[in-house]
Each structure stands twice: as C-alpha cells, then as structure tokens.
C-alpha cells in the first residue's frame, strides 16, 4: 500500500490543478495582509466599535497574531472548496480518464486503493494547511510584528498575552487539519459514486454551504440537527482562543475555557472521517467498474 500511496502523491503533485489551491491561498492572504497593512487601524476601530470609547488600549492591536486570526476566520470557510478540487477527483477523475479499470486490474485490493488515495489526498490537505499557516502566521508576524491578541467575542472580549499564543495556534492548526480532513473524506466519499469530478466537487461545496447555514442560523428546527453536522464542529478551533480568567478577570496563561468542547468536536470529526472512508471502501468493493 505504501507504493500506491507514493504513486498517488506523485500523481497529485504532478497535476497543474494541485497548485491552483496554493496560488489562490497565497493571493487571498496577500490581499488581506495588504489591506490590513494599509488600513489596519480603521479595521481595528471598526472591530472594536463602541469599545474603543470605553477602553484604553495600548500597544499594537493589528499585530501578526491578530492578522492570522482574521485570516483563519475568513479562509477556513473557503479552503474546503480548494480541497474538494483534488479530493473529489481522486476516484471519479480516474473513472473519467479511464484509468480506474487499469488501476483496479492490478494486484491491489480495493481497500488499499481507497486508503492509499485517501492518505495521499490527506497529505495534500495538510500541505495546504501548512502553507496557509506559514503565510497567515509566520509571514504576518514578519510583516506586522507581535503583541498581545485582543479578540471580540459575542458578549465579551479576550486578551491573551503574546507569549501565550503560539501553542494555541499550533492547536488551532492541528484542529483545522482535522476539520479539513473531514472535508477531504466527504469529497473523497462522493467521488466513489461519480464518473467525473464535477459532480462530487459541486456536491461537496453544496453540502458545506447547506450545513454551514444550518450551523450558523439560530432557528429551533436547525438547532436540533446542529450537533450532528460536521460544520458545527469545524469551527471549534476558535476554542483555543477562549481562556479561563481568575477572580480579577485576568486571563490565565496556558488555559482553555472549554477544552471538553474541542475534544468532543474532534471526536465527532474523527467519527465522520472514519465513517466516510469506511463507506467509501464498502462502496468501491461493491462497485462494478464500467467506465
């Protein structure tokens, strides 16, 4: 299976379309960074709203950590679209090219094909996130410098010391990787049933859009299904930036307010990944290859 995994990875990185996602992320992050570099102060005033009249804020609010947080908030919704470009093509693309029949007539089991391909698509997803992390965090720190991060939540504000942030980003990116792997698994699963990649790409994007709407709208009917939607749990990376406070309302360094939420959401996402990959294996094993 290792041979198959290596071959799949080789194929992914030999295709020009693979680099579309990397170019898109670079362009988007570059634009956000340029915008914040030029008009960062106005953006901070907008984010703070009335708070800027009641709080006296010293230091560099528009620092690299804050910029990275803004980028993650904006991009983690859109990265799934870029992931679907590759993951949804893994099986259906082979069917469309006519190579699936040649591949499956080789001495490899269909389970190995699914696992090898899924692992290769996962490596692509992780590479994409590493690239995103490099641009959003490292490059932003380089451009905007570092300071404490100040975040406005629903009905409160959080301040985290600069020396207490990096490990939170490490956790957030690891969690984001899990969330994006769920998208990879979904696109991959849909690709098993199609003969070309357009259908699974559109289906993946549609599912994410629908589920995100259900997850974010506070309507009683939707509230009942929210806990079961992976999109609800994909945003739990933000929990790394919610801290416990002491009796003086000062952030406790190294703390997370609701670590149980992160663990629960991670478990839900892992269950989604395992289930989707297992069904993909079952479906491909049962499938007659007519392409």
């Amino acid at each position: 299976m290792y041979t198959l995994f290596k071959i799949e990875l080789y194929k992914i990185f030999k295709r020009p379309r693979t680099y579309i996602a990397f170019i898109a992320i670079t362009a988007l992050i570059g634009i956000i960074q340029l915008g914040l570099k030029v008009d960062g102060k106005e953006y901070i005033s907008f984010v703070l709203g009335d708070l800027s009249n009641t709080l006296q804020i010293n230091g560099n609010l528009c620092n690299g950590y804050f910029v990275c947080y803004c980028i993650l908030q904006l991009l983690l919704v859109h990265v799934p679209l870029l992931i679907a470009l590759i993951a949804a093509d893994m099986i259906s693309g082979e069917a469309n090219m006519g190579t699936l029949r040649l591949l499956l007539s080789k001495p490899i089991s269909r389970s190995e094909v699914i696992i090898g391909k899924f692992l290769a698509a996962s490596v692509y997803t992780i590479f994409l996130l590493i690239w995103l992390a490099f641009l959003a965090l490292i490059v932003s720190i380089f451009i905007f410098g570092t300071d404490d991060i100040f975040l406005i939540k629903n009905n409160y504000a959080v301040q985290i010391a600069a020396n207490d942030i990096m490990w939170r980003y490490a956790g957030a990116f690891i969690f984001a990787a899990l969330a994006m792997l769920t998208v990879t698994a979904l696109a991959f699963f849909l690709s098993v049933f199609a003969e070309n990649s357009i259908g699974p790409i559109v289906a993946t994007i549609s599912i994410i859009i629908f589920f995100t709407i259900f997850s974010t709208m506070s309507i009683p009917l939707f509230n009942k299904i929210k806990p079961f939607l992976f999109t609800t749990h994909m945003v739990a990376w933000k929990e790394f930036f919610d801290v416990k406070v002491d009796e003086n309302n000062i952030s406790i360094a190294g703390s997370i307010y609701r670590p149980d939420k992160i663990i629960y959401s991670a478990m839900v996402l892992i269950i989604h990944i395992v289930t989707l990959v297992s069904i993909s294996i079952y479906a491909l094993k049962k499938k007659d290859i007519l392409s």
């Binding site: 041979t3 198959l4 071959i7 090219m97 006519g98 007539s105 001495p107 089991s109 007659d288 007519l290």
Partner: protein
C-alpha cells in the same frame, strides 16, 4: 506444460438490472493458446473480460485462473495477468516513461530505467519516452497500453480490442507480437475483437458469443465448415469457364459470375484438384483467392441465434 488449463470459466452470468449482459458462458483457455473472443458490439465480450479482471462481479458462475478461484486469490492471480481493457487510457499529464513506471510498480515488479526503456523500445516509443501522453496519437497510446500490459512479464495476457485506433502497420505489429508471445514465450493470450479478420489471423481457438450467450467454441478448423470454402478466380474467359463448371462435377448453385470473376463454394481438400481442372480446360487464371468462410460462418451462427431469439 502444454494443455494445462489456465482459465476455466463455468456458467458465468452477469445481469445488470433486467439485462443479461453475459448468460451462462463456459469456456477453457489452455496454456499457450491464443484464444479469440469473437462477437458483435454489445455481445458481452468486454463484460466477460472485466469479470476475468475482477472489475465486475459475476451474478453467478465461477472463474478459475491458474487453477485457483479468482475471487479468493485476486492479488496472486492478477500479478500474473497483463491486460488492455478497451481503450488504453493512461495518465495524460504524465510521460510515457512515468506511466510505465507507475504501472510496473503497481504490478509488483522491480523497475529499472533500462527495463522500462527496453519495453518502450519494444513498442516503438523509446524516442517519445519523456513526452507527456496528451501529445500522443491513439495508436501511440495503444502501444503504450501494450507496454504496460507486458511490463511485468505476465503469463496471461488479456487484450480487449487491442488494435483499436492502430494503423495497418500497427495492427500487423500487434498481430506479430501476439504470435511471438505465444510461440516463443508460451504465453496464454485471450484476445477479444468484433473484427473477424483480426481474430482469424492470430487465434488458435475461437469462441463466438452473441447477446451474452456462447454460440460456439473450437479451433478455426473446427469452426470452418469444410464444405463451404469459397474460391474466387479472375479469368478473361469467364463465360467459357462458367460453362465448363456447369457441365462438370463442380456444378453447384454457388457458382456466381461477376464480369471476369467467378466464385463458387467447394470442399477445402478439393482445391488442388480444382486447380487441375482449370488447367486441363485451358482456362487462363490471372488471380485466385480462397476466401475465408469464417465471416460467413460468423454471420450464419449469429443470424441463427437471432432467429432462435425471435
């Protein structure tokens, strides 16, 4: 090793909803055979071949290859099979060399640059080894497909319509390659085609299927009706020749004249004495063709099947 049963198919059927694509087919391919799988488009050839390659699951029946059940020993058996299934589709964004390397690795063989280049040389693609496949013609893709099918030196080679898209020289090359693989290397070849001429020129055994059903199986000699070899000759004295034929033992209702060409049906073993007859009667013969009657036979048996179906 001769006469060892390599492929044993018993009562194989495949049903897609209400359509019987393959209906209770049985056949045996022995080592060193070039087994021709003949049938019109949609007869069930590709479905059968896909079942032999585990791409399609049979509805019923069994397949044994190398004496082992295909479903239970899939990996072991497929290691020893090379195949082209309909179009030779490969990764268009990779070069011929990269494609060959990938499929060689997937076939479980150790690859070296020399080995891969030799294989590309064999199919006449060495000079295009590092070109991406999307720049290849259909014939070049077909030749790359053959290189992929043979790279791991399999004992069984399954070729589904292998000459599709090839020019006459390419077709002749493939034909010679198939004959060489069988004669020199004792490889077992199963070749399917809807082109009678194609099968006829290479196959040692032929199976004809129609509408998913086996019509007949046998060697070419067994299948050809020895009473119906059609001969055709060209003479400037066609009228005289026709008259002589009518008043001779060769007179049958198969005599047909078309300008200077005369054709008739006669038993295969009587062809030499027919030559003698023409010479004794001073009929000048400019050309003489012995037309193969497999085509007539094929049309006859498939038509009979149509009638039975009605």
């Amino acid at each position: 090793m001769q006469n060892t049963d390599i492929i044993q198919v018993k009562n194989l059927s495949k049903q897609f909803s209400k359509i019987h694509a393959v209906n209770d087919i049985s056949f045996t391919v022995q080592q060193g055979d070039i087994y021709g799988f003949l049938g019109q488009n949609g007869a069930g050839k590709s479905t059968t071949i896909r079942m032999l390659l585990t791409l399609i699951k049979p509805t019923s029946g069994s397949i044994k290859i190398f004496g082992k059940d295909l479903q239970d020993n899939k990996k072991e058996i497929l290691k020893n099979i090379g195949a082209i299934i309909e179009k030779p589709d490969v990764y268009k964004f990779l070069t011929a060399y990269q494609n060959l390397k990938i499929f060689a690795q997937l076939s479980g063989c150790k690859v070296s640059k020399e080995m891969l280049m030799n294989q590309l040389e064999m199919v006449g693609l060495a000079s295009r080894a590092y070109d991406v496949v999307k720049t290849f013609s259909q014939g070049m893709k077909q030749r790359l497909g053959i290189a992929i099918a043979l790279i791991h030196n399999p004992d069984v080679i399954i070729l589904d319509e292998p000459t599709n898209g090839l020019d006459p020289q390419g077709i002749a090359d493939i034909r010679n390659l198939i004959k060489r693989l069988s004669k020199e290397f004792n490889k077992t070849v199963l070749i399917s085609s809807h082109l009678l001429n194609e099968i006829e020129q290479v196959a040692t055994k032929i199976l004809i299927i129609d509408k998913g059903k086996k019509i007949i199986e046998g060697t070419k000699q067994e299948l050809l009706d020895p009473e119906q070899t059609i001969v055709e000759f060209e003479t400037i004295e066609a009228e005289k020749a026709r008259e002589k034929l009518i008043f001779s033992k060769w007179n049958t209702d198969t005599i047909f004249q078309n300008y200077n060409n005369i054709s008739l049906s006669l038993p295969y073993e009587q062809i030499p004495s027919f030559h003698k007859f023409l010479a004794e009667n001073n009929i000048p013969v400019f050309s003489f063709h012995q037309r193969n009657s497999l085509e007539d036979y094929f049309i006859k048996v498939t038509k009979e099947n149509d009638v039975h179906a009605i």
